[in-house]
């Protein structure tokens, strides 16, 4: 058995990959070395067998369909505009629904402590402005009077508080809680835009794919 370098040379020689001087040198060795010549014959025979291997025809057609490569029909230029407006309207509708659900509860929660304690300002700026006046009122009273009256609010104070409570709009807040933050008409409008946009996009896609076929 010849070394691998020689076999590589013989293989390249078979394919005409050696330069002229290398070929001449190898050919002179082949005449004097029968073992080397024998290897060359075998390599040539092996190559010849492979080259004689009949080429097979493809058993089926490999042509691609549009579906195979995921090609989609070209859509009209206006399509992205519809897609954007539909998506935008959907986002707005979601936000409006969320706002109508969350904001009234937030208002109610903010006004709850005011209703519970009877005073303290709460969310109403008008009552908040009056608060310092109410706090200052007892300060002008004599000390023993203060001690005597500790724990029970005066009739005046109660009257003031009642007025303040009415002015701060507690019943109005209750009404506001029932009112939608975003008008329902707007939401219906958005819904119509979404449905129309979706329908138009569907028609565009159908038309495009029918034309493409």
């Amino acid at each position: 058995m010849k070394n691998f370098r020689e076999i590589e040379l013989l293989s390249s020689y078979l394919d005409g990959q050696l330069n002229a001087s290398e070929s001449t040198r190898l050919e002179s060795r082949l005449t004097s070395d029968p073992e080397l010549a024998s290897v060359l014959f075998d390599l040539r025979a092996a190559r010849g067998i492979l080259r004689k291997l009949p080429a097979r025809k493809a058993p089926r057609n490999f042509a691609l369909t549009r579906k195979m490569v995921g090609l989609k029909p070209p859509l009209p230029r206006a399509y992205p505009i519809f897609r954007f407006s539909t998506a935008f309207a959907t986002v707005l509708l979601m936000l409006s629904l969320a706002a109508n659900l969350v904001i009234p509860q937030f208002n109610f929660a903010a006004s709850a402590p005011q209703a519970a304690y009877g005073f303290g300002g709460g969310g109403d700026p008008a009552s908040a402005a009056e608060e310092p006046l109410m706090e200052m009122a007892p300060a002008v009273l004599p000390t023993d009077d203060i001690t005597a009256r500790q724990g029970e609010p005066s009739a005046d104070a109660m009257q003031t508080l009642k007025e303040a409570g009415t002015e701060s709009g507690l019943p109005e807040q209750a009404e506001a809680r029932n009112e939608a933050f975003v008008p329902v008409n707007w939401q219906i409008g958005l819904l119509i835009i979404i449905l129309l946009g979706g329908l138009l996009m569907w028609i565009m896609r159908q038309t495009a794919s029918r034309k493409w076929r």
Binding site: F4, A46, R47, G48, L53
Partner: protein, 202 residues
Amino acid sequence: MDETALINSAQNGDLDSFNTLILHYQDSVFNTAVHILGDDDLAQDAAQEAFISAFRSISSFRGGSFKAWIMRTVTNACYDELRRQKRRPTTPLEPETSDGEEIDSPKWLADPGMTPAQKSEAAELEHAIQHCLDTLPTDFRTVVVLTDIQGMDYSEAAATARVPLGTIKSRLARARLRLRECLRGFEELLPASFRLEGEGLQ
């Protein structure tokens, strides 16, 4: 067929142009796949995968030999398939000694695992050659398929296999040497003009 024009059209997304190219190359692609994988069904799948992948990445083709480019795609698809097969438990193609070294011997053909029935099935020369090709390591098999079966020159085969020219020469020589040894086991099947040992220069 104006290949360049078809390639340009295909690069612009024209599937019909690419299908014309497929019709031209599908026999070569299938033959390459079937000789690398040694199985018709797997070869069909690999060829189809290769064409799909080729269409999707045709924009990356920057000129040169389109045949080499498409063959590279199919050899990659074949390698993927072989890797998938490797993950499943299979009988190794290359038997090993107790030391873990590969047995590079023509005795492989006289493997008692190959029953007389199987041998008679492999009576046709093509089967015998495919059997010998299957015993080669994948890299060697690919090079011998590209050069000796597909008739590519060394530079085309190097471009296809993405290896240096010297590697092609080396792998081809080793592959031919192993095939020579392997084919001795099928001496009686070989045409007289291709009998090994002691034949004169043809």
